[in-house]
Amino acid sequence: MSIPGEVITTHTEDSVVEDATAPRELQAGRSPLRIAAHRIRKDTVAMVCLSIVMLFVLIAIFAGTLADLFNVNLTVGRPAEQLDFLGDGMPLNGPPNYGFDPEHPFGVAPKTANDNLAYWLYGCRTSLVIASTATLFATLIGVVTGLVAGFAGGVVDKVISFVIDLFLTLPFLLMALIIAPIITSRFASDPDYPTIQKFGLVAVLVFFGWMGVARLVRGETMSLREREFIQASRVIGMPTGRILFKELLPNLVAPIVVAVSLMLPGFIAAEAGLAFLGIGVTQGASWGQTILQASPYFEKYPLYLWEPLLGIVILVVALNLLGDAIRDAVDPKTRR
């Protein structure tokens, strides 16, 4: 299920991709994180996934340039000229009824005649921008609340834990569905509506996505707080701030990296899912929106659906596998 808040907490089972049983590594002067990075570099699956993710990131960054390169854009198509309204309403050139159309490499959409490639490229950008922004903020909020709750303990911890539980009780999809239109409906007439829609969506994802990290960081902090090295730094007379940021936080980097790497695909799936349900980014390019529009034409024009669908699936699967590989690599339990 694509509930970001749950992504981390439900992964309780052990390393699934068995450690690539690398020969004993030379560990001279290398930090645990560097050892983890080394393991990832040795992990073929992880490296393939990383390359795929990097490719998508590049596509997202250079969406405009790439669109120019193929000479396609987001402007509304010319349905009257490009579509066969006398026949089945499918494009007159290119797929599904005709061969490859160099002017529109991914074909054009039925009904609107919009260029699929342009929408795909910008859809990729939308996905990654929304998901990464949401991940960034959700992580920040989660880390801060978790750290405070875990280290302070007592009443502060009780209050924060209650809030976390409260948020986890809310059915994510339903609440997102409720909140997203409320946030955006006020700005329906605003000229910048698509941008506002995106920000609204990010807000919703963050709103329901921070608890996982918060809970994880809280738990880790609580167990680390009892470790003797934290007590040792107290005995030294280290101030609390320094203990938090110099002693505790470095030990949280690994779980946070893992949480982030699993949150990102969750948000990408959630963004597209909401768009598919007709909420979220309905104006502008979004893979989920395209999927919603394409499913009725699937019988006659499967390519129209498969393009965004494969975009999401490949990106999300690659990110998930990468996240899993990262978890295996940094998990102190698999480390010698």
Partner: protein, 364 residues
């Protein structure tokens, strides 16, 4: 291995009626970094009514070898050669079902951490009854329960008819270990293997458990193997001692021989690196330098040579090139050691003992 010519028989008495005879046992695990020989050419015997103490550091192979006696290693992933005879039965290569008939019945085992070794979700009595029923298929549930209560009573658990329905976490540490022992003895085994039975316990509780084990052994007349890193436990419990280092037996003999005339520098190291609660205060604490070796890449020759302080007394580089054989010790008949030193007992009496137990020197 040519060592097999010498069959160590520590105890004269047990030569005839050895209940457990381990011969040339070698255990190898495949690991990602290559095969790992955890136990190498190990031989020992234990007779009925006798107690053998196996001593060594972490990774010396002491637990691995005794787990092989019960066939607890995964047969697919472990290469076991040599012979283990229980009674008249050869255990190496025995089928799983044949092995199962022995386990918990003729041979049983007590583990170190009783809290982890007892199933947290089942009642203590149920776990005992299960152990009884599996080897007494015609016993009713009631019989098994009665037997469980009887055994709990036998190991000194107060109100056994009530505590039988407790879960392990409701027991104190000492009581859990007693319950473990009750489970081990419920089928009246001829051989009991106790793997670090008191390591996790406080010293007064340890004394209770050791006494209990001794009383029960006397009562059941079983053969006992006690695995420990604590020479004190061995000194109190065992008739024979087997000292292991890096998977090999390095010294084997009667407890008295080993503790009063040890002939292997590693045993000296063990003796000199622990203080005694009553010893002379001018005794020195002399550690064994360095760290236990890696079994993936064991030292050449004698595996103890990198940490041995007496290498200089052996001519040439014998220690680092040639594995010493298990040879009879200079003093005592039922005593073998694995060392190149020409006259180890003299060195011990002259050099080591004055440092670690000056009071004992004067007596000699």
């Amino acid at each position: 291995m040519t060592d097999s010519i010498i069959q160590p028989r520590a105890h004269q008495m047990s030569e005839e009626g050895a209940y457990l005879a381990v011969e040339n046992l070698t255990i190898e695990f495949p690991t990602p970094d290559g095969p790992l020989t955890a136990v190498n050419d190990l031989s020992y015997t234990v007779g009925m009514g006798q107690t053998l103490g196996i001593v060594g550091e972490s990774g010396s192979g002491k637990s691995v070898s005794s787990m092989a006696v019960l066939g607890l290693h995964d047969t697919k992933r472990t290469k076991i050669t040599g012979s283990i005879r229980i009674g008249d039965k050869e255990v190496v290569g025995l089928s799983e079902s044949g092995m199962r008939k022995l386990r918990g019945n003729a041979v049983s085992m007590i583990f170190q951490d009783a809290l982890a070794a007892l199933h947290p979700f089942y009642r203590v009595g149920g776990q005992l009854a299960e152990a009884y029923q599996v080897h007494h298929s015609n016993a009713s549930k009631r019989d098994a329960r009665r037997k469980a209560i009887e055994m709990l009573d036998r190991v000194g658990i107060p109100q056994p008819d009530r505590r039988v329905d407790d879960f392990p976490h409701q027991f104190s540490g000492g009581m859990r270990q007693r319950a473990m022992i009750a489970m081990g003895l419920i089928n009246d085994p001829s051989l009991l293997i106790a793997d670090e039975p008191t390591t996790a316990l406080d010293v007064t509780v340890q004394a209770q458990i050791l006494d209990l084990l001794q009383d029960l052994q006397r009562e059941f007349n079983s053969a006992v193997i006690i695995i420990t890193h604590d020479l004190g436990v061995v000194a109190e419990m065992a008739d024979d001692v087997l000292v292991m280092y890096a998977g090999r037996a390095v010294e084997y003999g009667t407890t008295k021989q080993i503790l009063s005339h040890p002939e292997m520098p590693y045993t000296w190291g063990l003796l000199s690196s622990i203080p005694d609660v009553q010893s002379d205060t001018s005794a020195r604490l002399i550690p064994i330098p360095g760290n236990p070796p890696s079994l993936l890449n064991p030292p050449s020759g004698c595996s103890f040579h990198p940490r041995c302080a007496h290498v200089d007394k052996v001519p040439g580089s014998l220690c680092s090139t040639t594995l010493p054989r298990l040879t009879p010790a200079s003093i005592g008949t039922a005593h073998v050691k694995r060392c190149h030193l020409a006259d180890p007992d003299a060195i011990y009496q002259r050099e080591v003992l004055p440092e670690i137990a000056p009071d004992l020197v004067e007596e000699n």
